[in-house]
Symmetry: C2
Subunit: 209 residues, 2 copies
């Protein structure tokens, strides 16, 4: 179940409606239901097959025609963004909730575990991060930026508490976690890799550097 980023039951993406004047007209009941179905089907499809899955597959899973998909989302990219933005925003919320925690080191590490869990379960998240690194023009960029700021806060606090070495950057940590969880391995293996990364960014090791 995916919530609209903005208000509900509003034909935000319907570019085929009568221009800008109709932009805020409420959706008809069947249209609202279909929009929801499409979002759910798209999430399931992209999660399972990655962003390269064809729109037809999404439409079929949602039980609608492709035309209906395009009525709600003007391009495939727009559909993708609607999903990923939601997911990124949820992760953002998690950083804000965690930021209040008392042990900044453990706060950071448990967030990174959650981040890894999501990146490994949802192929599309990885794809989104990937795309964000390549071209910034995507609408997801705003959400990625906000998430980056959220993680940055957790990281700075952990550094201040001495739980993490000073010389790691937020982008590096994000790239490491996402990269680790990209090679579709067992969830267990992903968890272990995340732990290795966490250990890597802790304070100095016993071994000679």
């Amino acid at each position: 179940m995916i919530a609209d980023p903005g208000s509900e039951n509003v034909a935000q993406a319907d570019t085929r409606a009568n221009g800008a004047a109709a932009a805020l007209r409420p959706l008809r009941a069947d249209a609202a239901k279909n929009r929801e179905r499409i979002l759910e089907a798209a999430e399931a499809t992209f999660t399972a097959e990655g962003v390269s899955a064809p729109i037809d597959a999404v439409a079929q899973r949602a039980g609608v025609g492709v035309g209906t998909v395009y009525r709600h989302f003007p391009t495939k990219e727009a559909l993708f963004e609607a999903i990923v933005t939601t997911r990124l925003d949820e992760l953002c919320k998690t950083t804000r909730e965690l930021a209040e925690g008392e042990a900044p080191g453990e706060v950071l590490f448990s967030f990174l575990r959650e981040f890894g869990r999501q990146a490994s379960a949802k192929q599309d998240l990885f794809d989104a991060m990937d795309a964000a690194g390549l071209d910034i023009k995507s609408t997801c960029a705003a959400s990625v930026d906000e998430l980056t700021r959220g993680i940055d806060l957790l990281l700075e606090r952990a550094k201040a508490a001495g739980a993490v070495r000073e010389d790691v950057a937020t982008g590096e940590v994000m790239a490491l976690i996402v990269g680790a969880c990209h090679s579709k391995q067992d969830d267990l293996v992903c968890q272990r890799m995340v732990e290795i990364v966490c250990d890597g960014i802790r304070g100095p090791t016993l071994a000679t550097r």
Copy 2:
């Protein structure tokens, strides 16, 4: 310059020649030169643009027609494999050379640095590892397996010397390095990420675990 994995100047891939009987006939001089050109162009193209670069781009860079490319390599995949196999085999050779080294810990880490350097410079290598994780039927799989065994040896020695914790697996290390270097960042950032991974697999940290 890419060497053929097997013998030289042999029409190994020319499926359009007169069947199996002609399989080992020496290539004509111009054909041998073109084959070499195609391999070089393909390496440059895939390195720069990833595996999704069209065959036309390779042909154009090589200064030949697409038909000529297909005369030498029956599919795009075959061309890709010819290149990646060569690169993987070189990395394998590196593991064997390093295996003789005296400080197993440093041996492993310097190999991982080299591995990361290659993965970050050559997008195609990443793609190859990616594909290998998904479907094993590819011919690259043999080379990936051999490389895995080579790294496994280095890792076991490093463990035996106490330079690396016992609970990391070869596949994890490989996935971490490749993953870290995938998100096309600066070379410098990649190096830093590799160092973080190296630290992560060293012995226990000073921080509480």
